[in-house]
Symmetry: D2
Subunit: 343 residues, 4 copies
Amino acid sequence: MIGVAVVGYGYWGPNLVRNFWAIPGAQLLWVCDLHTERLAGVRNQYPAVQITEDFDAVLSDPRVNAVAIATPVSSHFRLATQALKAGKHVLVEKPIASNADQVEQLIAEAERRGLVLAVDHTFVHTGAVRKMRDIIQGGIGELYYYDSVRINLGLFQHDVSVMWDLAVHDLSIMDFVLPESPVAVSAIGMSHLAGEPENIAYLSVFFASNLIAHIHVNWLAPVKVRRTMVSGSEKMIIYDDLEPSEKIKVYDRGIIMGAPGRGEKIHQMLVGYRSGDMVAPHLDVTEALGSELCEFIACVEHGGTPVADGTAGLRVVRLLEAATESLARRGAIIDIEPVRHPV
Amino acid sequence: MIGVAVVGYGYWGPNLVRNFWAIPGAQLLWVCDLHTERLAGVRNQYPAVQITEDFDAVLSDPRVNAVAIATPVSSHFRLATQALKAGKHVLVEKPIASNADQVEQLIAEAERRGLVLAVDHTFVHTGAVRKMRDIIQGGIGELYYYDSVRINLGLFQHDVSVMWDLAVHDLSIMDFVLPESPVAVSAIGMSHLAGEPENIAYLSVFFASNLIAHIHVNWLAPVKVRRTMVSGSEKMIIYDDLEPSEKIKVYDRGIIMGAPGRGEKIHQMLVGYRSGDMVAPHLDVTEALGSELCEFIACVEHGGTPVADGTAGLRVVRLLEAATESLARRGAIIDIEPVRHPV
Amino acid sequence: MIGVAVVGYGYWGPNLVRNFWAIPGAQLLWVCDLHTERLAGVRNQYPAVQITEDFDAVLSDPRVNAVAIATPVSSHFRLATQALKAGKHVLVEKPIASNADQVEQLIAEAERRGLVLAVDHTFVHTGAVRKMRDIIQGGIGELYYYDSVRINLGLFQHDVSVMWDLAVHDLSIMDFVLPESPVAVSAIGMSHLAGEPENIAYLSVFFASNLIAHIHVNWLAPVKVRRTMVSGSEKMIIYDDLEPSEKIKVYDRGIIMGAPGRGEKIHQMLVGYRSGDMVAPHLDVTEALGSELCEFIACVEHGGTPVADGTAGLRVVRLLEAATESLARRGAIIDIEPVRHPV
Amino acid sequence: MIGVAVVGYGYWGPNLVRNFWAIPGAQLLWVCDLHTERLAGVRNQYPAVQITEDFDAVLSDPRVNAVAIATPVSSHFRLATQALKAGKHVLVEKPIASNADQVEQLIAEAERRGLVLAVDHTFVHTGAVRKMRDIIQGGIGELYYYDSVRINLGLFQHDVSVMWDLAVHDLSIMDFVLPESPVAVSAIGMSHLAGEPENIAYLSVFFASNLIAHIHVNWLAPVKVRRTMVSGSEKMIIYDDLEPSEKIKVYDRGIIMGAPGRGEKIHQMLVGYRSGDMVAPHLDVTEALGSELCEFIACVEHGGTPVADGTAGLRVVRLLEAATESLARRGAIIDIEPVRHPV
């Protein structure tokens, strides 16, 4: 039985608590938050769980094996470092920290102590994203582009831009499903509310091959869109997370370079649909967060590296950091230092 | 009665012919094309119309008042110049020419001779785009962004990139509906077929204000999308050209900056939907090309400047030219020389 | 403070419990269910609430003012009667009872004792249905038809047909939004699983006017549909409950009887769209069940009749009973005895 | 080369003319219509085709081998009879005639003279409907239901009800794709415009098995819908004719009768989605009317029976006739006399 504490009971914390509560191998011991009135909600719903505003009390409890951190991004590094130094395994909300330097320190600290360091890239645990990776690994031809739109009218964050809030999802999904690593990034964006971070951004991500990736994130859109296209020379995939059941559609389509018709000489020829079917594969509908926490607990208990470990967090934060620099420099291309892919 | 000749009977020419045929004030006299087998189709359907492969024969016919040019882009400048020099009013398929220098020469030639020079920006004659302009002019608050996606699996052009083929539509619509003029542009794109022009591109267009525009065009998408969002601080518009009847939706939505709740301090607060309705206004469904050709004929007959005249063509070509340069330089920001807006 | 007990903790009971728990004026005292393992879930989540398998224990507790019944339909009459006889106010899951005779007895019992008798017609408390009623009451011209499709692949009930499970929603919504009362009903349906109740049914409901209503319910559909059209001579409404925000769309459309064109004589003429807008009005998004239970508690505390009282339950059950008879007689038209409408 | 005449140049005639014009094996000789101004349109577009208001002139032309009739329904029988008696092969717009008695006379006349009698059930020549038949014939388990919705705001006919105008399509598709023949029909409908035929109707069609079919047709709907579901115990099909490319979707879904969970006893158990994929098969996109006319010309030239011959027309008219009787009798069940299925 792994003793668990959840730190931060704001927007996401209750989901962590609900899921840890339901995992047989985990025992939820503490919920820690600086806001007393949030803790009252915990006492009401989970009277068996201890509540506190004092993080040290959590860390000094020897029954606590693992700490899950769901606080604002700016506090991730400090809290995670404290937890690792107290010998606790750590799961951190995305993005794992505010910059790559911090992530490298966390990774080093965890490795030095033999502790699990995981980042909560929830989407990589969904049936849809896992299926998308399987399809891409199964072969969709030469990779052409990855295009994602993640927009809505919703939570406006004060401490991080829309890239750190929304594009982090796309970057973590890309990191999981694509066989190639980005080499450079460019970003353009705008803040429309004085003194607030950017609420709209467009990221372009470059690879060594002809693959190009592009991400549109937006907090001020009239409708909610969650749509990703991944196109190869043989197949094209659409992942629409708002579809109730057919979230993944695979189009057996590609380019047929027809010879120009008589009299067409050179200036125009038809690129046709290859005559295949579209398939919406059946997806595993297990709640992603539940699977993720089970994997985390299993890694803690038996050793092992989670799918989204510190290096995954590092790769994503490197891209966000570079994109932030690019945005400040009106889209200048920023090279990405390679991070080793876990094999 | 205005005598008309159509030059070029490939993809778009038949639409010009069909519409000119139906306009009471116009008399379609000639169809000219270098491909004999295309002309056979004209003879079959419009036996009263003369056909020829010889452009000079058209220009030397004194009954011809106006020439409509629907040939490949690279020939626009030469054919339009010849027609203007022969004293003919001219309507040119979009884009009006291959570069801004050519367009300026055409404008000068037409002004010198007192001839109408129009560009076939068809979309600005649709009920949907006209309604969108009315709504924006009526006021949607401070302008935030213009975002357009125009993608499909379709015609692959050999002589021009996807920007000159598809983004030209978005740029001409933007030129028509927005009260501000672009000051700079940046573009990123890729060609996935060796030796062919770019088949995917992302354009960012900058303005003097906080307005930002972005256009995604793509010839290799698994599905067809034609969707534009225009967002202001008071209202947001979605223009979906694939909707059968509700192409324009106006959302009475904006940002309400709520004070942070108790205990939320600073890091997160809700940006809410303002509680208005969505309206899909009734649209004029007259065929855009018909309206456009009527306007052109009226300008020829009574004098007057068409909505999409040479300067509109110039503004769009300037953006395309700058975007092409930017794309070659991996997204470098290219400033746009201002063109006078017709008042 | 009104003391409340919830009886039945299966599919719907937990929603009642969660909502009663959150209402300031109500104190949830008991949850009663025959299944011990369900009650364990209550103890876990609501340790302050007493649990029991013994309904009499609930009824004999003088602190209990009101009982909410969410058990299988066949037990509604018995349990509601016991509760009323014990002097408790009663809210019953839909349908309120198995036949009209039972409902009349419940109404009489409640009236005799001056107790509130409510039926859980949840949909009439949604912002969408309330808006639809407002629009219809505001006038949409002469009423033409009410057409509803409520289909999915889902829960298959053993004790009641798809009409008593799904059409009950449509009938309760119709009862709430239409100004006219049905005079007859006809139903056709089929059971595709031997020994099970009908899983597909089509109901036609007749009125004294030219209004016609039709309901398609289906447990074995490949996709989920929740779509209602209400059409008048002036306006048409579509209520799509699966739309995330624009659940209600009002079309300013009607018939324009054009004079036949020249040469058309009599056999064909165009009925056109009147050129109005479509509006999706802003909707109240408060959780319907919460509003409903608040109204119930207020009626218990201060007197008053809930929107969905026993007579509403009776009107709906009369239709279901008649539809069941019709279905058994292959669609024979069954007249409906009028029930007084509350004024 | 088969000489062809088209009679009736109103709504549908121009499509026949355009397609016959393009078929190599056919020579369009005549277009006949009582309205002179319509014939002017023919002269304009097809100067090589003779035009006339005199049907006898057509019939007495020995070069005319086949006559296609696209006049109002009430004249079908008279014109088709005349044509057959003049020795011409005949293709008749749907519905083939006004009642079954007429159709039987036409069939007898054609058989007596060895002439082809075809009915223009266009949909059975579409790629979508042909694919649907292939899938059903390939096996989708025990057939459960066939449900179709065909509604819009559109042409309002004066001489026939919405059933004869729209449901005729569904009945001809059902006739083509289902392996069983209807045994009875019931219909309910309403006319909302005084003196006009029914503008809304609901048809139920019964079979000897547990299969049930239902068709909703409506001329006064706020939106256009063309959606058919065919469900078997193993697979479910949705045919949405308004989808641009994925008109047919096949769901590998069926019922899994789970054993009731512990404590559930009998009253409720889950019918689950079987975990298969959804496939939208590639469809032939050839224009249906072109294929149909080619088949007709081939039958005329080489002998052979068209897919939609007189007996197909008869089966459909029998159902329409019975539905009309049922509608007049408020949904009374009307038995259908069996018609031999061509093998």
